[in-house]
Symmetry: C2
Subunit: 245 residues, 2 copies
DNA sequence: CGAGCAGTTGATTTTTATCAAGTAGCGTGG
DNA sequence: CCACGCTACTTGATAAAAATCAACTGCTCG
């Protein structure tokens, strides 16, 4: 399992890279580190794919034979318990990488939230390329390390933060996950439902709703629509992130 | 941040490797993938270090200039909130690797639980070696991917499992983390305190205690001492892991 | 226009945290 | 060797946070 997300440092690069290719392989953010020749080989391996909302890119337990580079839209990655409880482990956006696993099978499922496009790579072909392109491997490794740091932050959130703190953290972190989308500062787009937010934050839909309502009533945020809001008081939201009630 | 843990597949290798060196670099589980020449270079870079219980190997926010290979003992890795709430993100044991971070600073703290020995590597020297030793880099990457999968399991645990389920999962998973220690099947050593277990599972010490007591009263486990127990009914414990009350 | 979701809000229950005593093990010093 | 005191742990009573149950609202799309 591996979801590689955007590095703030490379956002500018990524935007320009992604603009100059039809296939979308270049939207993958490690491309800045690649020689043109390697980039061309990567492009040659990419197969375009489109997914409707709810459609699965992969399912937990399936043979892990494909990897994806998300080129537009958004994806939920999750694990299930036998009784149906779901933990969403991450949301992926354009530029994110999905599907590297250490074992033979996927350890998670991934589904499109919105209409989503992606480049699919056959695992074997991709591995061959990685094997003789150290720059690519190094970049992937760097992203994996970033992912681990993000995962640790999420462990802190799930293990030790209150509902209000989780929501505040979520609203502040979400825009950073989707840096290829140009949005005015303080503007947050929520492509996912309340249920998905709840399953990401380890809460119920009602608790998410109440926490958002409270942020709205106290003037910290303003709801522009169900799926769009503005952070009116970023510093207060940041304070709420770590318990300064 | 990166904690590389043991791969079941390589346990046998690791035990023999670790037995044949004084420095302990070879206890690091990727060694199986290395040429003798590279292994010697790795050994040459290692500095032995010993840590008393409670002593810090690294602190969140410090410049990340060292990396460690744990050779004996155990370590807690954690993050703190400003008000002191702690989330332990992992326990490390002999063979585990610690300290690879993507940024310039550590994103977590690490302290010895028991008397612990480790090999310290200067980050710059280590990186130079990794750079011209693709086998080492590949092995590290593989381990990072494993760590990400483990982190996703922990997200599921913290976000969606009950206290009882968390304890059951913990007791079943713990022995696998310390595979270099030969223990009879069903025997679990708890080098950490109840407080540390609580901070790892997102619970309080009282809840941990009650959950263990319940497992004891129902005959699923037997407490041999405070820090040692026997799993009497592994299949019932496994069922408790995912909600089959 | 109406059906059906998705979301909000309110009442109540449940789980877990918090507060408050105990108890057990262990090292120290008498 | 035992008493002491410390710390870690357990157990019990109560409180708080979040889940659950239950309407209800409002939006979207046939």
């Amino acid at each position: 399992m591996l979801e590689l997300r955007s590095l703030p440092a490379t956002c500018a690069t990524r935007r320009s890279e992604s603009a100059c290719t039809g296939c979308g392989a270049r939207a993958f953010s490690v491309c800045g580190a690649l020689e043109p020749a390697d980039l061309a080989r990567l492009d040659a391996l990419a197969h375009k794919a489109a997914f409707a909302p709810g459609e699965a890119l992969m399912r937990e337990g399936e043979t892990a034979d494909a990897m994806f580079n998300i080129t537009s839209g958004s994806v939920r990655v999750y694990k299930l318990l036998p009784d149906g409880r779901r933990q969403i482990t991450g949301f992926l956006f354009a530029g994110d990488f999905l599907g590297l696993v250490s074992g033979a099978r996927y350890g998670f499922s991934a589904e499109a939230i919105e209409p989503t496009t992606a480049c699919r790579f056959r695992k074997t072909e991709y591995q061959a390329l990685v094997r003789d392109c150290p720059a690519l491997e190094r970049a992937l490794f760097e992203r994996a390390t970033h992912e681990l740091a993000a995962a640790q932050n999420q462990l802190l959130l799930l293990g030790r933060k209150t509902a209000q703190e989780r929501i505040a953290s979520f609203l502040l972190d979400l825009p950073a996950h989707d840096p290829m989308r140009e949005t005015p500062a303080g503007h947050v787009r929520l492509p996912m439902t309340r249920t998905e937010i709840a399953d990401y934050l380890g809460l119920t839909i009602e608790t998410v709703s109440r926490a958002l309502t409270k942020l709205k009533t106290t003037g910290v945020i303003r709801l522009l629509s169900l799926n769009e809001l503005r952070i009116e008081q970023p510093e207060r939201l940041r304070a709420l992130t770590e318990g300064d009630a």
